[in-house]
């Protein structure tokens, strides 16, 4: 994720070369902001570091895995503009994942997979590319194949509505880093939800074919909906400590918001049974769906082939 120069210096601040100063470059985009500038990164008192680390993995893995899935639209979207829009969403989520995995590694370094002596791979990359499937803590909702454009929009609407509700509460976290990450994520997810919501409406009220596909998409996406709001013990613990958010607490808000979209678009909340557990658990327990293995293989293969690679 950094260039050929001094790796450590680049890693300290990827914004250093891009922030402010040069008026002549305004048309190319300047004044980038580091979302963690001025934030105290020490661990808050009275918080279980191992639990905080696990919690950051959960939120980070949701974003990482979904980001990878959405990035598979690149060059395949219906037109150039949607191609870039989806890539932007994927990159927003990748940015959130990066910050959260950095936090996970800072809270509990034991989680980070061991790499060869002298490997320049930063902790967040080691977590993303060198963990095995069972160590991922994302919900299964983000794992399935993208399907067609309608499936992608239905899934994105539900996911961004859910994640936005969580992040809005996480802004109040006692962990100043999580709070700052959440504040940044809220702005991004608000756009993602708006983007997916508009398409949801357009497809629902478009042609007979677009509506047929959207209704099929909702039915396809819905079995993994309930898992989003299932509280893992780590989430319960951190919610109690004022650091994390209990996903069950946002279930009603999410349902109300989605109901509004359903109502305006003339669709109904699907009536399909929830997917059961995989063996003894679900995504947050490291138990994933069939789609997860191939996704990880594609995402991790290059990094694993070069464990001492410099990117």
């Amino acid at each position: 994720m950094s260039h050929v120069h001094d790796h450590d210096a680049d890693h300290e601040s990827v914004y250093a070369g891009l922030t402010g100063g040069d008026d002549s470059r305004w048309a190319f985009g300047t004044d980038f902001e580091d979302p963690l500038a001025g934030i105290d990164t020490t661990l808050p008192d009275g918080v279980d570091a191992a639990a905080l680390s696990q919690y950051c993995l959960m939120l980070g893995d949701d974003a990482l895995i979904y980001s990878h899935r959405l990035s598979q639209w690149a060059s395949n979207a219906p037109d150039l503009e949607e191609d870039i829009a989806l890539a932007n969403v994927a990159l927003d989520l990748l940015g959130q994942a990066r910050l959260l995995l950095v936090r996970a590694a800072a809270a509990d370094g034991d989680l980070v997979p061991a790499l060869p002596e002298g490997s320049p791979v930063p902790d967040e990359d080691a977590l993303a590319f060198f963990r095995d499937e069972a160590a991922f803590r994302n919900v299964r909702f983000v794992e399935p194949e993208n399907g067609d454009f309608a499936v992608t929009m239905a899934r994105l609407l539900v996911f961004s509505t859910f994640r936005l509700a969580v992040m809005q509460r996480l802004v109040g976290s006692h962990d100043t880093v999580l709070s700052a990450i959440a504040a940044k994520a809220v702005k991004e997810l608000t756009y993602h939800r708006d983007y997916a919501g508009r398409w949801f409406l357009t497809l629902a009220q478009g042609t007979g074919e677009s509506r047929r596909r959207l209704l099929a998409a909702l039915t396809l996406v819905w079995p993994l909906y309930d898992e989003l709001f299932r509280t893992h013990p780590v989430e319960a613990l951190l919610a109690e400590q004022g650091v994390g958010v209990d996903p069950a607490a946002v279930a009603d808000d999410v349902a109300v918001l989605l109901e509004q979209v359903f109502s305006v678009s003339g669709t109904d909340r699907p009536d399909v049974p929830a997917a059961g557990p995989v063996g003894t658990g679900m995504g947050r327990d490291g138990m994933h769906s069939e789609a997860m293995g191939p996704l990880l293989a594609e995402m991790q293969v290059v990094a694993r082939a070069h464990p001492s690679g410099r990117w």
Partner: protein, 107 residues
């Protein structure tokens, strides 16, 4: 969306392609909106969203104008000489023959 749409019986003919929009962005430090390019969108609102996604993803702007390309009245290249050539030797139309005080900006 891909130009494959065919008119269906009994329905409004479906346009083969979304209309073209011209996009203007005001940079953070720019004084005015600058033309940055064009894109296709189904309507004005989608044009703004697409412009945000395509033209401001590197922190380029704080404001967007989207204008349907068909609504832009444009001069024709054929008229270049009668329209513009007469101005190219009228150097006296520039206020360069006056002394400008040092504290007058933007001149």
């Amino acid at each position: 969306m891909s130009g494959q749409a065919q008119p269906r019986a009994g329905a409004e003919p479906v346009e083969a392609e979304w209309p073209l929009y011209e996009i203007f962005v005001r940079g953070k430090r720019g004084l005015n909106h600058v033309h940055v390019g064009s894109l296709h969108a189904a309507d004005d609102e989608m044009a703004l969203r697409h412009a945000r996604d395509v033209y401001t993803r590197r922190n380029e702007g704080v404001s967007i104008w989207a204008v349907r390309a068909a609504l832009v009245a444009a001069s024709s290249p054929d008229e270049k000489d009668p329209l513009f050539a007469p101005a190219n030797d009228k150097i006296y139309r520039h206020p360069t023959f006056y002394a400008i005080p040092d504290d007058v900006p933007h001149m």
